[in-house]
Symmetry: C2
Subunit: 473 residues, 2 copies
Amino acid sequence: MTLKSLLLGVVSVIALSGNYSALADDVPSISEDALKVAAELRDEALKSSKGYDIVESLTTEVGPRMAGTPGDAAAVKWGVAKLEELGFDKVWTEPVTFPTWKRGIETAEVVAPYPQPLVITALGFSVGTPEDGLTAELVEFDDLAALEASEEDSAKGKIVFIKNRMKRAKDGSGYGPAVSARTRGASEAAKKGAVGILIRSIGTDSDRMAHTGVMNYEEGIKKIPAAALSAPDADLLENMLRRGKPVIVKMTIGAKQGKEYTSHNVIGEITGSEKPEEYVIIGGHLDSWDLGTGAIDDGAGIAITTAAAELIGRLPERPKRSIRVIMFANEEQGLLGGKAYAKAHKDKLDNIITAAESDFGADRIWRIDSKVKKEALPVVMEIANLLKPLGIEYGNNKAGGGPDLIPLRQLGISVFSLRQDGMDYFDYHHTPNDTLDKIDPEALDQNTAAYVVLAYIAAQMEGDFGGGFTKEQ
Amino acid sequence: MTLKSLLLGVVSVIALSGNYSALADDVPSISEDALKVAAELRDEALKSSKGYDIVESLTTEVGPRMAGTPGDAAAVKWGVAKLEELGFDKVWTEPVTFPTWKRGIETAEVVAPYPQPLVITALGFSVGTPEDGLTAELVEFDDLAALEASEEDSAKGKIVFIKNRMKRAKDGSGYGPAVSARTRGASEAAKKGAVGILIRSIGTDSDRMAHTGVMNYEEGIKKIPAAALSAPDADLLENMLRRGKPVIVKMTIGAKQGKEYTSHNVIGEITGSEKPEEYVIIGGHLDSWDLGTGAIDDGAGIAITTAAAELIGRLPERPKRSIRVIMFANEEQGLLGGKAYAKAHKDKLDNIITAAESDFGADRIWRIDSKVKKEALPVVMEIANLLKPLGIEYGNNKAGGGPDLIPLRQLGISVFSLRQDGMDYFDYHHTPNDTLDKIDPEALDQNTAAYVVLAYIAAQMEGDFGGGFTKEQ
């Protein structure tokens, strides 16, 4: 027992005595019994392999499930069936409507001075090129800032090539600075007169696979086709350009907008025994990009959180509060599932005790961050204590909670971040290489063990984690 | 100085005295001067980076160069120009004629029970499917032997799936046992009534890229289309098949035979000062598969051996014998360049003092094997001594010499094998991932250092390594 839990001794003894209600809203606490059960759940999770079974099932029986494709519909069907099969008390879906995008042909080649093919992939929501392709000279920029800082017409009639390299980091901190080339590059290039854009993939690998991902066109700016090059192809273009001759590239992209589509958030609930209307959210996103089978992004998150809730469902008694596993629809193309959930439930935010999404691959969790009221930090420390044997340390009280929770977080709910080691995540992210073999079953169990502790304690605690954590606070 | 070179002391002293001819054919030897120059060349090579420049040039300015394609012709042109630019004394080409094969569309998908796309690549010389594809049920076999041992009609009307996994090994010893599924699988499957074959890629990676490579049809057996699956796709099919329902796959392959084509072996010579007609062969193969840029297979071999010879060419004096760098044509589709060279030069085998090909990637050399007459082993030991600081040990006197040297070796010439660490070679072999970024410039310099020692000593030695090492001996 740690110092912090000793300090909580009085609270715990009272809690054990069964007299919870007096403390409820003032001093959040967790009973020794609950801590014991949480530890057992944690240890059970480490032996479970249930998470791996779930992601194996999703990637094998559904595979790619880009928003609005037949794979999306198959995934929703799979999600409902899986949650029912695993004995969740309630399983339902909630509609999520969004515009869709279709990938088509995507090829590129150097036409001159050294003809050879290039490996590219269109960025999500890119327009297509003319059917017989777009041929133009390349103009290179170190990064998006260099493009923005360049003179007017710096890319007139040319294909912009942005060559910035994403940095590898455990916490994924290289992604933010690099990804703006993908999200905003096309419109910035168009402002400089470009007819197309090729970016070095936002990734940390050196495999000949390009990384897709969503991009946006700025309103009122000409839409030009946008694609990512694999890292070796970006190297190749750099090497060609260094020779000083004009490099002429042809790119052919058949991508286009599709029709509006309605998919669904899939929700499974372990219904609470005392306060069933209050609930803990854990989950991931059910959609994936189309190039891989969506194993680490985000089959793993679906698997980890479903396995964690399923373990709690196997207890002889239901926890006090409910646990909802939410398989969010269409995260990849703009957090549509997360936005729809927040919109649908915004009038009952008090029911959400806390929330945590797993969407950063399948490697081990190394840190837990919280966003809770100060008074609830002792309970957080109890959770952190339980996670210590898993190699997880407490970080800070500034948790983000995960992408699909951004809309809810902006409305002020309490969230947790169980931060995974992202060292290799961007080697595979949004590529064909996002497949089941990239998942270590034991690492997945460690994740499940952490989520089961968090979900159970949150469902079982006295008092709450607070709320109203809007940006302004 | 080592014990072995001490034992050679008498010989060396005589050699130093300038009276070489009396010893020539009886007791091969190498002078102290030559050893000193070789050591200097070795150390110079480690600082050179010339090898990297060459492979960067080949992969950037030519890229893929499958036999019979425009890339093949561009590579021959590049080879001639590069050897001339590097100051070789003579540069010429020798014709190599062969049948060609064209890759076309290559797609596959699971049609039922879990529709999803598969990543495949056609095997070299595979026939195509009907234009609208070939759809059939899969039947799996653990390996080629299991297919061969199965009952007649075991694959009737089906697509055979061979799932054997190649083992990773420093010496590449996993390749031989695994590759027969690729080379002979189609005809063995056809004998059992199959309409197509998909093999797990012959490789050691877990990337979603399929490994191509040549296959053969047995005469008189129906030709069925043959392709390799990426490792993750082979896993996926195994997981689907484990569920017990029939797995229906559609494969569409547009490959076909092309016309006969004449390419060229490209040869550069540093011409000897005393016995110019006698020569040492070093080299690699100039062709590559079409999926990558042929950096490690075999741009590296071309680069290493060209850089080694170029270093010798920079000496104030030419060595006694000539050094020929041979950039062999069309190794990948059946050692056609090697066969053509052996055929064209079979009447003057005595002129070949020894030969060594670099064709096992770009990693460090860890062992040297020889095939020489017993009396020449002391010279081999001197070479091995010079290679020790490079981390290279002597192996045995049973060297193979490299694929393109098989035809010459079968005629009995002396060969050396400078054996590279092949631990990662089959991660990239014959895939789109065979690109420049997989090459460590320092490892390449280590290779160049080893080749320069071997080539220089062989060109400079008194006596010879013998010959007549035909299989029967």
